[in-house]
């Protein structure tokens, strides 16, 4: 009588109750099977009522869930998620680049016989501390200049983490080709991240001016431009500071 595709016995229907009641009178000689504790459980009037109440509650809940639309709504003016916008910042590259930087630093120290395991932790701690300091300094400057921007803290961490990519490239080239290779690659990566930061932060911090394309005028916009240039200039400096001791 059960549906052959059913995975388990459906105990919520009245079918098994009737089944159990039928078996009840002849239950003495009946071998102990899965049906008999079930039928004893359901024969008790209190648990009958409890089961009826529970199944009606479940039916109501199911109705409620099916009735509402549970789709996530996106507002019009919040930034879209990285899945839809390929230029949106996300923490994948920065996180991967940070870990790779630590490993490459260990590799570089190892080739110079200066490696010890606690130095890895020291490098990681140092890079994280600089990152935290940068984020705090930029947040303070944004607050002081009353910049109304949609740049969140996590976005800032993502943007500031892009410099690790250049650092990795520089150190690897320095391992392969010595100081000349290191300076060449690091120089190119510094210039590229400088341009990237200027372009990206100009859109975020100088939103009104950049959107109209007018040249930056006025004291307020000038201060914001200085902030953008300072943030962008700090990136090559930090890239050099965090890697020069790794390349001898």
């Amino acid at each position: 009588m059960a549906d052959p595709h059913q995975l388990f016995d459906d105990t919520s229907s009245a079918q098994s109750r009737g089944f159990g009641a039928q078996r009840g009178p002849g239950g003495l000689g009946y071998p102990a099977a899965a049906a008999s504790p079930q039928e004893a459980f359901l024969a008790d009037p209190v648990s009958n009522m409890a089961m009826a109440y529970g199944s009606s509650l479940a039916a109501q809940g199911k109705e409620l869930v099916d009735k509402n639309d549970w789709e996530v709504q996106y507002q019009q003016d919040t930034p879209v998620a990285p899945r839809f916008d390929i230029n949106a910042p996300d923490l994948y590259i920065p996180a991967m680049a940070f870990i790779t930087y630590i490993l490459v630093a260990g590799l570089a120290l190892g080739t110079q016989d200066r490696f010890s395991p606690d130095l890895l932790g020291l490098q990681a701690s140092s890079a994280l501390a600089w990152l935290t300091l940068e984020v705090l300094a930029i947040l303070l400057s944004l607050y002081l200049l009353t910049v109304n921007t949609d740049l969140t803290t996590i976005d800032l961490v993502a943007f500031l983490g892009y410099k690790y990519v250049g650092m990795i490239g520089g150190v690897l080239m320095g391992l392969l080709f010595g100081k000349i290779g290191y300076y060449l690659v690091l120089g190119w990566c510094c210039v590229s991240i400088f341009v990237f930061m200027i372009r990206t932060l100009r859109l975020k911090i100088l939103a009104e001016a950049a959107a109209q394309g007018v040249p930056v005028r006025g004291a307020r916009n000038q201060l914001r431009m200085y902030l953008t240039m300072a943030v962008a200039a700090a990136q090559p400096l930090l890239m050099y500071w965090l890697t020069f001791h790794l390349v001898r």
């Binding site: 020291l122 701690s125 140092s126 501390a129 200049l145 009353t146």
Partner: protein
Amino acid sequence: MAFTLYSLLQAALLCVNAIAVLHEERFLKNIGWGTDQGIGGFGEEPGIKSQLTNLIRSVRTVMRVPLIIVNSVAIVLLLLFG
């Protein structure tokens, strides 16, 4: 490369302590950074100085009690472990 997260925490604690000891009446008013001086009107741009003044006042108000706790913990730990 001795710049670690721990030294950043120490520096942050010292900076917040420094902000907390700036006395409103005896010092900030005398240099014109009091909280009731110069917060003019509801103009559009608050300006850097009033933002700084607000920041100092907020930090002093918010961090008063947590600083007591954190400073006590720091004192005990430094006494025990150097």
